[in-house]
């Protein structure tokens, strides 16, 4: 990964890249900016993706602990497995696409050059065949984290384990069939566009299945609004909006108006930032005690999450409005655009203020997380009362993780865990009765 990053630093230091990350031909084959170096960097980085994918597939198949059948794996692992499959199958196609781009630039082979019989749209097909599954690489692990968080912080077994597990696989499979929805305006045939549009609508179904299962898990659960749970709830809201706006883009008639506008920008920020990054933050706060052995301030954690939520919406919701009004993305001359279209200015200003608030939220987060490293309360083995195996060892874990192989049970069965106010963590109590103390610190009363 370092090697690949070096290429990109070289690109930045020698004049940069002006094609956008999508490298569309024929501009990318003719521009003088550092396309070949950037393509080389991306090619090298692709190897880290492929080898990670291979590693995870082999690990999940052959190295589960004794007693962990496929249907006793945590859902986070199912999500990572589906992600690994996509990484292995999709990234090589990006690899060869970048090779073809570099070869065309260096040797003028002509595969994408229409003057000698080539086809620039072929590049788009090759590129998006990888780049659409790539976004599922980005969201699947995030959804896996949310499955863990929702269950633990509702003190309730995940609803629909099998559906959630196999929906991850379904997303991986269907994700390979929809790349053409990035190309509705490229000149491809109407028939092909219709097929891709229909498939795009169907790929939203497994994601929706997950959201409904998470909500069903929360129903009649004992909700603990610890910081990780705040992020999980934020995820459901923001990813919901992001996913639904994807449908606007997947419909052919509306896509014609929304393609290459700020609507697209806002859609993918809602799913990637509001989805992936928020879930990442939820996971960070969830596993922070396990990794570092310290607890951070819950008060500031919640403040930061709330501020992030408000700031994010302030930043990106106006961009949906801008997109529907026609504001293009990647616009070069912003001032001239505003002169001709003063109606865009207010929403841009809202968006900018939102970004300042985002910075504040992240600075607060950085401060309290760093502060926890030297002044935070020492973390117990299981502060959140989770039933997955990592909580059976100390925080942080010892060198070998487990002195002896852990006992594998149902990863979402919390009935044997009891909150211990002394250690402010959970301990395994095989004799725990339902009428014992409150299930978690936020609970007002004991379980019924």
């Amino acid at each position: 990964m370092v090697f690949g990053a070096v290429f990109f630093v070289i690109v930045l230091a020698t004049g940069g890249l002006d094609t956008g990350w999508t490298f569309y031909t024929p501009f990318s084959t003719t521009t003088t900016s550092r396309v070949t170096a950037a393509a080389a960097g991306a090619f090298v980085l692709g190897f880290s993706s492929i080898f990670t994918g291979i590693n995870f597939v082999a690990t999940v198949h052959t190295m589960r602990p004794p007693g962990m059948t496929w249907h006793r794996m945590p859902l986070f692992i199912w999500a990572l497995y589906a992600t690994a499959i996509i990484q292995v199958l999709a990234t090589p196609v990006l690899g060869i696409t970048l090779v073809l781009l570099a070869v065309e630039r260096l040797f003028h082979i002509g595969i994408f050059d229409p003057t000698i019989g080539g086809d620039p749209i072929l590049f788009q097909h090759f590129f998006w065949f990888y780049s659409h599954p790539a976004v599922y690489i980005m969201i699947l692990p995030a959804m896996g984290i949310i499955s863990e968080l929702i269950s633990v912080f509702s003190r309730k077994h995940i609803f629909g384990y099998t559906f959630i597990a196999y929906s991850s696989i379904a997303i991986a499979v269907f994700g390979f069939l929809v790349w053409g929805h990035h190309m509705f305006t490229s000149g491809q045939s109407i028939l092909v566009s219709m097929i891709f549009s229909a498939l795009t609508f169907s790929v939203s179904i497994p994601s929706a299945i997950k959201v409904f299962n998470w909500l069903a898990t929360m129903y009649r659960g004992s909700i603990w609004l610890a910081t990780p749970m705040c992020y999980a709830l934020i995820f459901i809201f923001l990813f919901g909006i992001g996913g639904l706006t994807g449908l606007f883009l997947g419909a052919l008639a509306t896509n014609v108006h929304l393609h290459d506008t700020y609507f697209v920008v806002s859609h993918f920020h809602y799913v990637m930032f509001g989805g992936t990054l928020i879930a990442f933050l939820g996971g960070l706060h969830y596993w922070w005690p396990k990794m570092t052995g310290r607890m951070y301030s819950e008060f500031w954690g919640r403040i930061s999450a709330l501020l992030l939520f408000i700031a994010f919406n302030l930043t990106f919701f106006p961009q949906f409005v801008l997109g529907t009004q026609g504001m293009p993305r990647r616009y070069y001359d912003y001032e001239a655009l505003l002169e001709r279209n003063p109606q865009f200015e207010f929403d841009h200003q809202l968006s900018t203020i939102g970004t300042y608030l985002l910075i504040v939220a992240f600075v607060i987060m950085l401060v309290y997380l760093l502060h926890s490293l030297w002044a935070g309360r020492r973390a117990p083995a299981n502060p959140w009362g989770a039933a997955t195996l990592e909580w059976q060892c100390t925080s942080p874990p010892p060198h070998d993780n487990f002195a002896s192989a852990p006992t594998v049970g149902d990863p979402y069965d919390f009935s044997h865990l009891r909150y211990d106010p002394e250690t402010q963590g959970y301990i395994i109590d095989a004799n725990r009765q339902p009428t014992d103390e409150a299930p978690h610190p936020d609970a007002g009363r004991a379980e019924a």
Binding site: G53, V57, T62, M63, I96, F107
Partner: protein, 233 residues
């Protein structure tokens, strides 16, 4: 808790688990390699479906005899590689080393023949990309020789354009394949040295097995390339 088996990495519980994980890992890697070549086969399919004349003309300039010899050589190398795996599993040290050695020799001969083919193309100006400046007499002579000469100079120019695209595809596909053969030779040399030093036997033959799998894939890809490029009628 000591590792009495020096070949067992500490993150594995048993040698059997290590072998299973490694084998699955190599198979998944081969799948990724197939996807890597897939775009080239896809480009081939697209151009062949839309412009069959490109491929018909193009194959007239390829030496099918040399291609066939190369195919046999690679098949032989696959045989010796499989034999090497078998020898490792049975602890037949000398056979193992000999088989890996023959595999390397076959691979080098393959590359040699490819060099001969490429240099023939170079001589006549049939190089990929912008430097494609073919020797016109040679081109005309080849087309006439097979009874498909160009009637007019416009037709000849159009077919030359086709030829340029064909050779772009030809050099890309065989070039990427040759790159994988070269990488394979590097790995085989490493394997040869390790086998010579007695690192492999019935107790541990994982690397021989895994390199063998890779080599079979390299052979398989050539077996697809040869008819698609050389044997078109």
């Amino acid at each position: 808790m000591t590792d009495h088996d020096p070949n067992l990495a500490h993150h594995f519980d048993t040698p059997a688990q290590q072998y299973a994980a490694g084998k699955l890992g190599v198979w998944v890697f081969l799948v990724s390699e197939i996807l890597f070549f897939s775009a080239l086969f896809c480009a081939y399919a697209v151009y062949r479906a839309n412009h069959p004349a490109i491929f018909f003309d193009g194959h007239l300039f390829l030496d099918s005899e040399l291609g066939a010899i190369n195919t046999c050589i690679l098949l032989l190398s696959s045989l010796t590689m499989a034999w090497a795996v078998h020898a490792a599993q049975l602890g037949q040290q000398r056979t193992l080393v000999a088989c890996i050695g023959v595999t390397i020799v076959c691979a080098v001969v393959f590359l040699g023949i490819k060099t001969v083919e490429y240099s023939q193309k170079w001589e006549h100006g049939l190089v990929p990309g912008a430097d494609f400046t073919p020797d016109m007499h040679y081109v005309q002579e080849k087309l006439d020789h097979h009874g498909h000469g160009a009637e007019t100079s416009e037709e000849l120019n159009a077919r030359l354009l086709n030829l340029r695209t064909f050779f772009g595809i030809y050099f890309l596909m065989t070039g990427l394949h040759a790159f994988h053969v070269i990488a394979g030779v590097g790995v085989l040399v490493w394997l040869f040295v390790r086998a010579w030093k007695g690192a492999y036997g019935a107790h541990y033959f994982n690397p021989v097995d895994f390199v063998g799998l890779y080599w079979h894939l390299v052979d398989l890809i050539w077996i697809y390339l040869f008819p698609l490029l050389y044997l078109i009628h």
